[in-house]
Symmetry: C2
Subunit: 751 residues, 2 copies
Amino acid sequence: MSDFNVIGKNVEKKDGIPKVTGKALFARDISFEGMLYAKILRSKVAHAILKNIDTSKAEKLPGVVCVLTSKDIPGKNRVGIIIKDEPVLVEDKIRRFGDALAVVAAETEEIAEEALDLIEVDYQELPVITTIDEALKEGSLKIHGDTNILENKSLIKGDVDEAFKKCDVIVEKTYKTNYFAHMFIEPEAGVAKYENGILTIWASTQNPHFDRGEVARMLGLSQSKVRVVQAVTGGGFGGKLDISTQCFVGLVTYHIKRPVKLVYTREESMEVSSKRHPHVMKYKTGADKNGKILAMEAEFLQDSGAYASYGPAVVTRGMVHATGPYEIPNIRIKTTMVYTNNPMAGAFRGFGVPQVSIAHEQQMDLLAEKLNMSPYDIRIKNALRVGSYTSTMQKLEGSVGIVETLEKAKEKAEEVIFNNNKDLECIKKRGVGIGCMWYGIGNTGLPNPASAFLEVHKDCSVTVLAGCADIGQGSNTVMCQIVSETLGLDYEDVNIVSADTGSTPDGGATSASRQTYISGNACKKAAEMAKETLLKIAEELLNVDKSEIILKNKKAYSNKDENNSITIQKILNNCAAKGIMVLGCGYFNPDTTSLDAETMQGIPFATYAFATHFIEVEVNTYTGEIKVLKIVAAHDVGKAINRRMVEGQIEGGCLMGMGLGILEDLKVENAKMKTLNFSNYLIYTAKDTPEIYPIIVESEEKTGPFGAKGVGEPALIPVAPAILNAVYNATGVRFTEVPLTLEKVVEKLNY
Amino acid sequence: MSDFNVIGKNVEKKDGIPKVTGKALFARDISFEGMLYAKILRSKVAHAILKNIDTSKAEKLPGVVCVLTSKDIPGKNRVGIIIKDEPVLVEDKIRRFGDALAVVAAETEEIAEEALDLIEVDYQELPVITTIDEALKEGSLKIHGDTNILENKSLIKGDVDEAFKKCDVIVEKTYKTNYFAHMFIEPEAGVAKYENGILTIWASTQNPHFDRGEVARMLGLSQSKVRVVQAVTGGGFGGKLDISTQCFVGLVTYHIKRPVKLVYTREESMEVSSKRHPHVMKYKTGADKNGKILAMEAEFLQDSGAYASYGPAVVTRGMVHATGPYEIPNIRIKTTMVYTNNPMAGAFRGFGVPQVSIAHEQQMDLLAEKLNMSPYDIRIKNALRVGSYTSTMQKLEGSVGIVETLEKAKEKAEEVIFNNNKDLECIKKRGVGIGCMWYGIGNTGLPNPASAFLEVHKDCSVTVLAGCADIGQGSNTVMCQIVSETLGLDYEDVNIVSADTGSTPDGGATSASRQTYISGNACKKAAEMAKETLLKIAEELLNVDKSEIILKNKKAYSNKDENNSITIQKILNNCAAKGIMVLGCGYFNPDTTSLDAETMQGIPFATYAFATHFIEVEVNTYTGEIKVLKIVAAHDVGKAINRRMVEGQIEGGCLMGMGLGILEDLKVENAKMKTLNFSNYLIYTAKDTPEIYPIIVESEEKTGPFGAKGVGEPALIPVAPAILNAVYNATGVRFTEVPLTLEKVVEKLNY
């Protein structure tokens, strides 16, 4: 495992230079001759019957080329990742602030903007449902169909009632989380163009193949006639999984056959993109006197807002992970997710797990305190191990590094945190907290494939075609490393074309920390097909069985005699002389299973990533300010394909997790979002970075490419719970709601 | 065979609408912000030692961005399809008029043009070699290395000397052909751009993957870092197989990192693009008294001009095909191809076969006359049949339709030509001639692969990625037909991306009428891999063995019970639910063999196309004008994938063949081409089209996709010889040189 050439190395990021030199083209940088500009008329009420839209005045404004409404949609006017419940353009019912009512396309952006004011909308307002309680109330107005319940699920393992009877200690608490916004630095943008019978859309997206399907369906076109190209994407974090500008620019160009661009304003992006689901989580956890957890019970209430988006996936993932990375024999969890007229919630780095981790990690500390154990010991005692059964009775067979992350994090914390002399003003208090997490990699509950093609050129260079969208996380780099290692060719000579539905096969969404594992495996399979061709020739030339042959450093050699070698260039020359092409094609899909409908028992994920954070905070008890001083972050990623990028993910995740724990305060009043920009929705920036000590733990996952799992979301998850535990450690006050805003902290510390 | 859905149908050409509506983007239509314009300084002498190039004055001209010479080439300064003997920019020796000496890149095309005049070139002229004789003369100056002989080959079958002794009749004659120009309607053009570490070149080309290799080699880059995209290409006919603008724009952008465009003027294109090789062909053919040909001997002298280009391939093909489509047991052919300082000759629709057909078809008529047989009967008697041995002792096993083309063409000619009452002025004479041809499809003498990837999308549509360049001949349409038929899906839903080295695997050159056969087979194989996936699911769903299952009309059904069926959409839904992706990847290479070095015996081609043309001409004996009145053109194409496109190829080939026979008169004086534009190099246009009766003969080729062979070049080949025979039939005067210009005809008829 250690003898890799490229895997685990800090090779140059494929998109590094274009980005730091400003050459990378984001969707808003793409322009074409004769291009129009689009703007969207959006609802200024949260719930209403749409009676009429009169576009005639707007159409007459000089420079306006068209004003399109739902009537202009030739195909299906419904989009949605899991449930197709969201209209592209409202035809009958407005369900939230910001619902799209009409698209204007004009010669300039200013004219398009001006035209919006000339559109007359006739609607009849309905009562607005802003809370889960109201949504569930008998006789409440229904937002979709005949119930406001989007999901209602139970997870049942063992006999929780019996088990609680045997517990020596039980802790119960209710935790709450708010909305959070992704605040990707680039608002949604898309450009469409029609050429040679193909509608091409360049968009800021995490999900180009899904987008293609949605646009094709909306326009009644076949998927091969719609091409979605992921433009360089300035972050997504789950917020660019739902479709946004793509349908609007597609619709305009479909009708007008001219290129068109649509760039959301920050406020528009904020209002209509999905948010992290607010959760109410009622927890009850019991252990015996030795600290062994015997039972847990939980009830989750979640607000999906006006549309389903990824809601059902958040429900499932949150429930499966509700235990934290601990083996608990008896579990009962009930979740209800509802529709309201609130902002739409959806995918956001972690899919519900950051929420439940805030609960389960505080439960651990509460139990430890009652048992007079250390937070560390209770975690070690209950941590999942090889052979453990998870919440869904999945037996863990392979890569289970939670104990190792605990041990390594503690060791590092002892070095960099605990030996720290504290000489503080009396109003400042410091404390240390632990946060652990596990995170399923490779969804198996739904089909989850990705694919790749590749060609080895005659000069030892390679072109890879993979659907996988690199949104900055570095998947292009990882895929090239995997291909390079598999073929024994130079990383610099491997080029990837990614996330262009016109030329790359489906890679699925860049979500759920799946691409290294899923697309990585697909690229590896494609490379192995090409490798097989090379080995067949090498076998003849080296006169040894191909099972003995190693491809490395652009050479093929026998593993029994390294001197019996030949350059891969010579193998390729031999192929070329025989007219043999060195091609690869592969896809990977972890075996699709389905969970038991009643109990959710089964295998929801192919494997799991694990992590432990030790975080030191300083609380200013006077101002309420919480400062994160140090984070030790140990992550079991299976295998780090690129160590620097894994560390980068951990560092980024830490800042986003700090925002979730402390700073990011999204305000919704009467279903209307009030914090629509960086001026009132604050996020941590590079200047706020504490000392972060990333630790990479590599518990090899046999089904992963070179042993890799994933790290994108795990990096964020343990941060907020560790902060909450650290604040308690510092102040003796336990907070059950995030974020820990100044007001909240001051109020609670002083009363 | 008759039961196809898409094969053999006149489906809409994929590039039809964009072309007729003017939307198609040729390379000169492509522009980028900040784009420079390049111009090439070219030699105004034919042979010289280059001593110095002083670019300093040119560089100082405002608006000039760079002036590059051979010193600025970081990699190898040599290009060439078969032999790398041509400098991108001359570093030491000028070998022809038009050799490239320097590239200027400037802010405007005008400035670039102006700068050319400011470059000072110091050279020492050398004697100019303008004839084959001079080139071969002992002690002659050598253009490359130590000999002016580029190729010197013999083809020997049987014992020709003994065989001639047994002949009752022998005919001997020497035939000559001139240079001919392709006159593709779009001159060479290329645009380069550097982005994200990738140098992309859009070019008018028949050979994008070759171009990529040449540019990469010249710049010392790996092939994966250079992307060549075939822009919509306005014809090629072999003239865009050699590299042209690609290296120049690549070199500028490599250094300057700004986009650059280079469009050749018509005169520049004419001067530097390859021309048809002038041939001198000395023929001797003998037959017994029954008309059975027993022996032929031939000696060919060919002028390659200053560089090799496709010369060696023209030598081989010409020799193999020198017999015409007849079985001749004893053969001796000797060919010498030389370098001169004349314009470079190279690939041109037919690769030497149009030249030899002018000889062998007149030899047939001469023999017939001596034997008092009809031209038709002698052809039927000697025509190749299944089981015949070709000139290289290749036994013909499968598809040999020459007799059928003779029969069908005669039948049609009797209907439309021979029953024609002729009531002419006395100065006008009419006659009918026959031209036959055979043409090897699928070179096996060299590796000859092409490849394709494809993905079947979830909605029954398909994207095909194939390297194959469509230069107007319709390969994109053909590939989509083949994929559509193989998968039983709708042609309209199959989209192809072609000839983009950044996203399509190598398809080889669009030359030698190979793409339907070679890339067609590659696409079929890729489709069959995807089909296999569909069949595996269909097998389960229909509960029959997959060998029984037919995919057609978007359905899968049992060949034993058509009612036991399921839609392909349902199969795809089933795949999607299981995470199964329907991908295809395939390449095809006809078994590479090599001919015997001494005798050229062996298997040079996978299969052969055949054709017979009956042509009626009217000769104005006073003005010398030859008017082609009617052409009956029967072509054995194996299987017409698209009948209308095959007919289009035949019609286009007839006009180009008429040009070769009669009109196109390229003048070279002292190694300098004098006819540089449409004003003095005339070609036939649509208005000159005679009555053409295309007849499609389908002698199924088992190794071809759905039985197909090829038709691109065959369409041209029989035209000139049939005209020459028809002129003899009309006037009693035999011409042995083409073209039959007015002067030549008047002179010969009147003396």
